[in-house]
């Protein structure tokens, strides 16, 4: 079942893979909320994460920092990044760091799930 953290962040966790859905404007404040979410239970120990980014309308550099640091610490796959996200990651010159999938289902499947 999806749990809502804020207007911009929600997640589902099946105990193996956490799917975190971001939408709207990912400002510095939202990035800090995201980072706190993954640093606290139950996600603090979750190593496999899908970040679903199809609804993101704005991605501040602080949000990119959170995505990059997360990728350095956990196994992270991006799902359905919006054009805004693709462009922002390109401008920050970090797009090649990410494994990108067309949908949440594909990203979860790539972890060996269904």
């Amino acid at each position: 079942m999806e749990k809502t953290v804020s207007n911009e962040i929600a997640y589902e966790d099946d105990g193996t893979v956490a799917v975190i859905r971001l939408r709207g404007r990912i400002t510095q404040a939202v990035a800090e909320t995201l980072y706190k979410l993954i640093a606290d239970p139950p996600l603090e120990t979750r190593q496999r994460m899908v970040l679903s980014l199809g609804g993101v309308e704005y991605l501040a550099s602080a949000g990119i920092g959170a995505l990059v640091r997360l990728t350095g610490e956990r196994q992270v796959k991006l799902a359905a990044p919006s054009e805004v996200v693709r462009r922002a990651l390109g401008l920050a010159e970090v797009y090649p760091l990410f494994e990108v999938h067309a949908s949440e289902a594909e990203a979860v499947k790539a972890f060996g799930g269904t």
């Binding site: 501040a60 550099s61 602080a62 920092g65 990059v68 401008l91 920050a92």
Partner: protein, 165 residues
């Protein structure tokens, strides 16, 4: 002479030679007011994508100035000046801080190294704003001290009459 003074959050001046200067306190409400002003100005002169690029870059630089330059001290202000000169939308952003080591903004430090440095220093995730701004704007210049930034964006339509003059 101040031509607009919406409370204490944002002050606007229109001075000689078409420079507009805005002074904003270091908090989110002032930043939103400031960005609205710049958005109105950009709408007069820039096409949609250029305008979005400029607004993204200016917000990043202003957030840096407030958070790192002014250390989040809401009593400290940032000054943003802008105008059109020889076919370029030019902005200057200045904070009241002590500046910073600008060696990381000249391309000698890649964004990933900068990010890991931040982690070691206990700073929040980030470190990509300046790279993005440099890719969005045509020119980005820092003062030696690091507390003043000049940004410029070429106007695709070529030199236009300065609407702020």
């Amino acid at each position: 002479m101040a031509d607009e003074k919406p409370g204490d959050d944002l002050e606007s001046y229109q001075n000689l030679e078409g420079w507009v200067e805005l002074t904003a306190r270091s908090h989110g409400r002032s930043l939103d007011l400031l960005m609205k002003k710049i958005e109105e100005a950009a709408a007069l002169t820039l096409e949609e994508q250029e305008r979005q690029d400029l607004l993204y870059a200016v917000r990043e630089i202003c957030e840096n100035a407030m958070e790192w330059g002014n250390q989040g001290d809401q009593s400290r202000k940032i000054r943003v000046s802008y105008g059109i000169f020889e076919g370029e939308f030019v902005l200057k952003v200045a904070d009241e801080g002590e500046g910073f080591d600008t060696r990381g903004v000249d391309g000698s430090l890649n964004p990933l190294d900068a990010m890991f440095n931040r982690k070691r220093e206990g700073k929040r995730p980030g470190g990509f704003g300046i790279t993005m701004v440099k890719n969005l704007m045509d020119r980005v210049l820092y003062s030696d001290k690091g507390n003043v930034v000049l940004l410029s964006k070429n106007l695709r339509k070529g030199t236009q009459p300065n609407p702020f003059a």
